[in-house]
């Protein structure tokens, strides 16, 4: 596609439920990043992939969070047993010129946990 696509754009769920957020990067971009952004804050790093492997997952807050990128393209961020504190905008970005190229961001998935 022309840009990074994220679905859903909005997700409302109840505490304790499981959620999946999808990111479709720009074709040919090998690096893919997930960030989380709370209102009025800068994006907080979660994980990044180079190809299919998670090159750095040090930002995942706990073991309820998991991300995959099985074919080196689309990635899914999975959150188990959601908590109200997980409410945020989840941003995905991809990059062609890894590791020092510009990041192309999607519009984000807004997650609200009630």
């Amino acid at each position: 596609g022309a840009g990074v696509s994220q679905t859903p754009s909005n997700k409302v769920t109840e505490k304790g439920k499981y959620v999946e957020l999808r990111c479709d990067p720009i074709s040919g971009h090998t690096a893919l990043y997930w960030y989380r952004q709370s209102l009025g804050q800068g994006p907080e790093f979660l994980i990044y992939f180079q190809g299919t492997g998670a090159a750095d997952d040090s930002g995942l807050p706990n073991d309820r969070f998991f991300a995959v990128r099985p074919e080196g393209s689309v990635s899914t961020l999975k959150i188990q047993r959601t908590e109200r504190g997980d409410s945020a905008v989840y941003l995905c970005a991809s990059s062609l010129t890894w590791p020092t190229g510009e990041l192309f961001f999607g519009e984000g998935s807004r997650l609200t946990v009630l």
């Binding site: 960030y35 804050q41 790093f45 090159a55 890894w98 990041l103 961001f105």
Partner: protein
């Protein structure tokens, strides 16, 4: 935790004036980038400056980097109402390739 601290947190200026925002960081960096985010939207890349560069220009944007002071500044000249947005610095540190973002400066340009 966030690597970059930006100031001011918020800035309000008149159209036509220059806007300067600063980013300070804690450890050695590989490169530093600036991004813009319009309300409710994704981030858009503005400019990249490498650790061995001191100044870069792109249109109305001027970025400086002082590695001895661990700081960078973004200057927007002749600001327009359309420049109203949040601006973030982002950097990679030595030994890693994850981009860590600053806290952001919210710029409001009044017409």
């Amino acid at each position: 935790s966030q690597q970059g601290e930006e100031d001011p947190q918020a800035l309000s200026i008149q159209e036509g004036e220059n806007a300067t925002m600063n980013c300070s960081y804690k450890t050695s960096i590989n490169n530093l980038q600036w991004y813009r985010q319009n309300s409710g939207r994704g981030l858009v890349h503005l400019i990249l400056i490498r650790s061995n560069e001191r100044e870069k220009h792109s249109g109305r944007l001027r970025v400086t980097l002082d590695t001895s002071k661990k700081s960078s500044s973004l200057l927007i000249t002749a600001s327009r109402a359309a420049d109203t947005a949040s601006y973030f610095c982002a950097m990679t540190t030595s030994g890693t390739y994850k981009y860590i973002f600053g806290t952001g400066t919210r710029l409001k340009v009044l017409a």
